[in-house]
């Protein structure tokens, strides 16, 4: 996928000026947040379950080689094949090889962010396969030629009316006079169009929400049922999963599932939670003949043992972006790569490097709401701050900011000099602003005054006034005062 994370600033300005996007984001911000709050309030054990989910995943990550090997053996026992892929290119090649070997013509896909991460659709199309996204949101953005703007609601940026236009443009075999006013019309049309695609497809590709070491099982969590059709009807089922999806047991997966849907959509449980183990058994009336799992690293193992390891607990619920005021202002595309919002602000520099992804961890007020709602208790602001540090240490921070920090640091660590400098500066500013009490514009502060007024300082610092008042400065002064 083409990365535009370097242009986050320009992307965000464009996003802020897009009225359709702003209208769509306005709808999103309320819905997800209220529904999650309701689901949380309805489950008294919710916060304890979050702690438990964190602990399960930490235990797993501490022994992830053991659990991956256990998982691999269990998959093999069930008749499945496990492929290990160090990076995106290797994962793509495994998929292409399987498709070639199976003489496939068409591929259907369930929703998978990992497949976005490895740019799978582009590779399959370049090799001549027909690729159809079956999740409604993914289907909408596929026909629009876009990438997902949200990890669980990929078309969250698109309005109903835009979907209707896209369907008219794309579904030319249908009656041009048909009504596409209601959401139901659109959903029923997509259902009809996609139904044949599932039946015609040779290979079905899904992601995985969990991999279970105990049983060699992959799990998908969906609401539409598209993932199930994708993995049931074609001859071949390929699961693409990043390796941190592993958990030890069915019980562990169940424990984490309790916080997943509630955090994501505010549902207590998604409509379909499907546990798949191997290929069709001899007596089974349906199911794929072949079952492959691709275990993708693509930068994950580099995060182990670092200050970014906590990020590997992420279960991709999207709560952080649903609650992020920056995401809510600019939407997901502004982030410029696969993963948007706070989790993307950590994953993007982790996977594509801080030189290209460095804007994203900077574009946060550190309001902390993401960490507050994260079901896996991932300290997102802390990790964004760590990336700012890495950026600074690598000399990638903007020169003007570095220069500013150098001056500020030089003065602020010298209280005497600081007093003198601030006395002079505040004196001048206070004198200039004393009539209005505020400035409409200020040189060097246009970032502020382009959008809002700046209150004028009072003219004297607290410290100078405190001196004038002969206020206490030390504990000794206080003892003296008390003795008087």
């Amino acid at each position: 996928m083409q990365t535009t994370s370097q242009n986050f600033k320009a992307n965000s300005i464009k996003a802020l000026a897009d009225p359709n996007l702003q209208q769509a984001l306005g709808k999103m911000k309320v819905g997800f947040v209220e529904k999650r709050a309701k689901a949380r309030d309805a489950l008294p054990e919710f916060d304890a379950l979050r702690d438990q989910a964190r602990d399960i995943k930490n235990h797993t990550l501490a022994n992830i080689d053991y659990y991956l090997e256990t998982y691999e053996a269990a998959v093999q026992k069930s008749g499945g094949v496990v492929h290990w892929a160090r990076n995106a290119a290797e994962a793509r090649q495994v998929v292409l090889d399987i498709c070639a070997q199976e003489k496939a013509k068409s591929v259907t896909k369930g929703k998978s962010m990992v497949s976005e991460e490895i740019a799978l659709n582009e590779a399959l199309e370049a090799a001549g396969y027909e690729v159809v996204e079956t999740d409604l949101g993914e289907y909408i953005i596929q026909i629009r030629g876009e990438s997902p703007s949200h990890i669980i609601a990929p078309a969250v940026h698109v309005l109903k009316e835009q979907v209707a236009d896209d369907f008219r443009r794309k579904h030319l075999h249908l009656d041009p006079k048909r009504s596409l006013v209601e959401r139901k019309d659109l959903i029923s049309e997509a259902r009809g169009v996609l139904r044949q695609k599932y039946l015609d497809s040779d290979v079905g590709i899904t992601g995985a929400n969990f991999l279970i070491a105990e049983t060699g099982t992959s799990v998908i969590v969906t609401n539409e049922g598209n993932g199930d059709l994708t993995q049931t009807l074609p001859r071949v089922h390929i699961v693409i999963a990043s390796l941190e999806k592993i958990v030890p047991t069915l019980d562990d997966a169940s424990a984490i599932l309790r916080v997943l849907a509630r955090s994501a959509t505010g549902q207590e449980f998604s409509s379909y939670t499907t546990f798949s183990t191997g290929s069709k058994r001899d007596a089974d009336p349906d199911g794929p003949e072949a079952y492959h799992v691709i275990l993708l690293d693509n930068g994950r193992t580099d995060m182990l043992g670092t200050e970014f390891e906590d990020m590997l607990r992420c279960i991709r619920c999207g709560a952080c972006m649903n609650h992020c005021p920056v995401y809510g202002s600019v939407g997901g595309h502004a982030y410029g790569w696969v993963y948007p919002g706070p989790m993307g602000a950590v994953l993007t520099p982790s996977f594509i490097g801080v030189a290209d992804g460095g804007h994203l961890p900077n574009a946060s007020t550190f309001c902390g709401r993401c960490q507050d709602v994260c079901p896996m208790r991932i300290p997102l602001p802390k990790m964004m701050r760590a990336y700012r540090r890495k950026e600074y240490e690598a000399g990638l921070a903007p020169p003007a900011m570095r220069f500013g920090m150098d001056i500020w640091g030089f003065v602020a660590k010298r209280p005497g000099l600081y007093r003198l400098a601030t006395r002079l500066a505040m004196g001048v500013l206070g004198w200039r602003g004393r009539r209005q009490g505020r400035f409409k514009s200020l040189p060097l502060a246009s970032g502020w005054t382009d959008h809002r007024d700046m209150a004028a300082p009072s003219g004297k610092t607290f410290q100078d006034l405190w001196d004038q008042r002969h206020g206490a400065r030390t504990t000794k002064d206080l003892e003296r005062e008390a003795a008087q």
Binding site: K9, M405, A455, H470
Partner: protein, 276 residues
């Protein structure tokens, strides 16, 4: 935590000493908040000193990834606040920095790590100190108006400051509090964020001021001057007739002075009646 239901307990204890961390924004822009804090702390029975050798908590550098400068600036605080029972700041953001982040900055420093942890442990945001530590049941003051309250992010999420200012405001005669539905959503200030990403910050603060106006309140209160400068500056640009104060000003009975961004500050009021 002291039992907040029993303020009479205060009399049994020797007066505690508080080093006021004024915060750079209050020091430079709005000293009256510092005096309001002193007034409230003294009313709660504290003895308050303001160490001279304080500048900033180091947050601008820390949040920009410049840990070297952040450490250098933060180190000045370790000396400045030695010996006080408590350190109190009229800001959740600066108190959060001292309490949670300065210890992290010095975690690997063989000499300063313990001192940074000790400083963090005794540092509080003003309203939570008054309620949680000093057991102040409420504040006695007068302010005629309908106010709404914005919970600044650091105070709310790092320090759990939510009920304390509201509890104190209950004692303010003439004041009606009408809650802001989006009180817990960031105003878009974010320190250097507001000048690094001014357009996004503007979008956030515009939504915030619209929500404030929707409450019908005539006054906005908050516990952090950074957020207040941002929101008050936006409301002023939008010509909204809503005044903004730091909550300490109202609690200390200083709501008759100029609001943030208004002219007419009389600094002599703070130096009259000198102590000494």
């Amino acid at each position: 935590m002291v039992d907040t239901q029993a303020p009479e307990k205060l009399a049994d204890k020797p007066p505690v000493t508080v080093g006021l961390f004024v915060t750079c924004l209050v020091d430079l822009f709005r000293p009256r908040i510092g005096f309001a804090a002193v007034e409230l702390l003294e009313r709660a029975g504290c003895r308050v000193a303001v160490p001279k050798a304080q500048t900033c908590c180091g947050q601008p550098a820390y949040n920009s990834g410049d840990n070297a400068h952040a450490r250098a600036v933060a180190a000045t605080l370790l000396d400045a606040f030695d010996g006080f029972d408590y350190v109190v700041a009229p800001s959740g953001s600066c108190a959060g920095m001292i309490r949670d982040h300065i210890p992290e900055l010095f975690a690997d420093d063989p000499v300063l790590a313990d001192r940074a942890v000790a400083l963090g442990r005794k540092t509080y945001e003003l309203t939570s100190f008054l309620v949680d530590v000093m057991g102040m049941p409420t504040a006695i003051a007068r302010y005629q108006g309908t106010v709404t309250y914005h919970d600044s992010c650091s105070g709310l999420r790092e320090l759990g400051v939510k009920d304390q200012p509201r509890r104190l405001l209950k004692g303010v005669d003439g004041l009606t509090l009408t809650e802001l539905p989006s009180a817990e959503i960031c105003c878009g200030f974010g320190g250097t964020f507001c000048v690094k990403y001014p357009e996004i910050s503007n979008k956030m603060v515009s939504e915030k001021t619209a929500a404030i106006a929707d409450t019908g309140a005539d006054t906005l209160l908050a516990g952090d001057l950074g957020c207040l400068l941002n929101m008050a500056g936006k409301m002023s640009r939008e010509s909204r007739p809503i005044r903004a104060f730091h909550v300490a000003e109202i609690l200390a009975g200083m709501g008759d002075g100029p609001a943030i961004g208004e002219a007419g500050e009389d600094l002599s009021a703070f130096t009259d009646g000198q102590k000494g």
